[in-house]
């Protein structure tokens, strides 16, 4: 009996094996066919991100200028580029500017964006039209916005100069973009303006995700508007706020066009941040090794923030 079962089982198994061979082949063929779908992404990531990043990494350890680019032979110099860059007075300047630029951009962007999101969340006639109109600054090429703001801040006849001089707040023909300190403020104001729509849209959709019941429950408990905001809206928005601040940080670290067009990093490096500094090293001075080194430093900062965010996101969920 036992023998018979095992024998019949054996027969069944061998039959299965016979049937399984073409089936497995078919599965494998299918697996390959499916892999072909994914292949473009894998190749793309390797060619357009992996290889350039590897290249940037290698170049940052070489004495690499225009001459080496022409001859094709570059000497390995270890950390020399990084040491040069760290010792350059421009490093401290760019570090401080990047930090101030980032903080002064994302906090006002967020606060104004939140205020607008709360305002439009009330929904009134025209609210949808106004909301989509507000998206325009975010959709325009940054070069366009930078050019327009350069005109607004213009020394000879910019509207900002006219208004502030008219109110006797600042002297007439004040050189916003040519005065140290003020140029930086002008660039920050412009960047805030560009970032507001994005913050508003994300926070608005976050607000819409909060169920009305929470507010009803809070109202029953006697919470006022302000308390409802503090104890219902803000805590429930926390994940959205987290991702928004993270994206804001990374976006601000990437800013290049804006400063390049408005001030070119001037006056006297007053608006130089890491991104514009890296670009100048590579493409104005042809010091590709040092430019790559600064580029890699920006990347490291961005990844560090991403890690902090991931740690925060995991902790809160």
């Amino acid at each position: 009996m036992a023998m018979k079962t095992s024998a019949s089982a054996g027969v069944a198994r061998s039959k299965e094996r016979v049937a399984a061979a073409p089936l497995r082949r078919r599965f494998r063929r299918r697996w390959w066919a499916r892999l072909m779908f994914l292949l473009p992404a894998i190749l793309y990531l390797i060619i357009f991100y992996g290889y350039p990043l590897y290249y940037s990494f290698m170049v940052s350890f070489e004495h690499y200028t225009l001459q080496e680019e022409v001859t094709g032979v570059a000497a390995f110099t270890g950390l020399a580029n990084y040491v040069t860059v760290f010792q350059d007075p421009g490093f401290r300047l760019a570090a401080v500017h990047t930090l101030v630029f980032t903080i002064c951009s994302i906090i006002p962007q967020f606060i104004i964006g939140l205020a607008l999101a709360l305002f439009f969340h009330r929904r009134f006639p025209l609210s949808q039209l106004l909301r989509s109109l507000m998206l325009v600054p975010w959709l325009l090429p940054i070069v366009v916005s930078a050019t327009v703001w350069r005109w607004l801040f213009d020394q000879t006849n910019g509207i900002i100069d006219q208004v502030l001089a008219g109110l006797h707040i600042l002297p007439a023909h004040f050189g916003w973009l040519t005065t140290p300190g003020w140029a930086f403020a002008a660039v920050i104001v412009t960047n805030i303006w560009i970032g507001i729509p994005f913050n508003m849209v994300i926070l608005y959709s976050g607000l819409q995700g909060i169920a009305e019941e929470f507010y009803e429950a809070a109202a029953i408990d006697g919470a006022g508007k302000w308390q409802a905001f503090l104890y219902v809206t803000l805590p429930l928005l926390e994940p959205v706020i987290g991702i928004l601040l993270m994206l804001g940080l990374i976006y601000t670290l990437k800013v290049f066009d804006l400063i390049y067009v408005m001030t070119g990093g001037g006056p006297a490096n007053d608006t130089q941040i890491f991104a514009t500094w890296s670009y100048n090293l590579s493409f104005s001075q042809q010091l590709f090794g040092q430019g790559a080194a600064v580029g890699n430093i920006i990347l490291l900062i961005a990844l560090a923030f991403a890690l902090v965010y991931l740690w925060w996101a995991r902790r809160t969920t």
Partner: protein
């Protein structure tokens, strides 16, 4: 009393809403108004909030010199749309419905690419393209511009494709259609909104790019409008009305896309939250 409050409430809200929007959009109004003014009026003090006379002269002057650059931008933007969609769509499908051991790794890498500053890629890209002879070519610029769009498109299309059940493709297998046939004839038509959203943003990325165009176009043979605006400031420092006219022309695509595809843009902004 109550009815009165109800009536006054929304009116006040609408007024505040309009005022706030007007303040935020003032720079764009100023751009438009100044592009339609004579230099004389533009430089009068105080500058009139509403122009007394309207002239199209700045546009006439500017169109002659800027038309080639606008066309270049169009070619580059459409090239970016096509190339990035061709690369991104099959991969998005694979990531949405097929399980490979590396699926999660690829998704993680795609998210990671969103954190890489463009300026970090600019130096190696320039050196590599120089060796490959891709500098000063449309292909080179379009290839570089796809780095804005491909990861974004894959992530956003993946989200769209995940909401379509795979059974739909399996149903097509019964008719003898292959994996690719089912993908193209069954799955893609269902996610047309996703393709529009992805294409839209790819266009804006390609149109708005400044950094790569500045880097890759070392001579001025091919120059998109983003770079030509920048050069315009240097060349004709004081011709602000003409400069504003160029700025308006460079804004037109974004304005058209916003008017025609408003819903898609909001969807792309929020569902992706992976802005480049």
């Amino acid at each position: 009393m109550k009815i009165h409050a109800l009536r006054r409430g929304p009116v006040l809200t609408i007024v505040v809403g309009i005022v706030v929007t007007a303040i935020l959009l003032f720079p764009l109004y100023w751009m438009l108004v100044n592009s339609l003014e004579t230099t004389q009026e533009m430089f009068s003090i105080p500058a009139p909030l509403v122009p007394t006379t309207i002239t199209f002269a700045p546009y006439v002057t500017v169109l002659q010199s800027q038309l080639p650059h606008l066309l270049t931008s169009l070619i580059v933007a459409f090239g970016t749309v096509i190339l990035s969609l061709v690369i991104a769509t099959p991969s998005a499908y694979a990531l949405a419905h097929f399980r490979f051991r590396i699926t999660l790794v690829v998704v993680f890498c795609l998210l990671l690419t969103q954190m890489i500053p463009t300026v970090t890629l600019a130096t190696p890209m320039f050196l590599i393209f120089n060796k490959l002879g891709l500098l000063n070519s449309y292909l080179g610029l379009i290839l570089a511009d796809t780095t804005y769009a491909v990861p974004f498109n894959i992530l956003i299309l993946r989200a769209f494709l995940q909401s379509v059940p795979y059974e739909l493709a399996e149903a097509a297998f019964v008719d003898g259609t292959g994996e690719w046939g089912a993908f193209i004839r069954v799955m893609l038509p269902v996610v047309t909104p996703g393709l529009i959203t992805a294409g839209l943003f790819s266009f804006l990325f390609g149109w708005g790019d400044f950094l790569y165009a500045l880097t890759i176009m070392t001579n001025s043979s091919i120059q998109p409008v983003s770079v030509s605006i920048y050069n315009f400031i240097g060349q004709f420092g004081a011709q602000w009305n003409e400069l504003m006219a160029v700025a308006v022309l460079a804004s037109i695509p974004a304005a058209i896309l916003l008017i025609v595809f408003q819903g898609y843009i909001t969807a792309g902004l929020t569902s992706g939250a992976v802005k480049g």
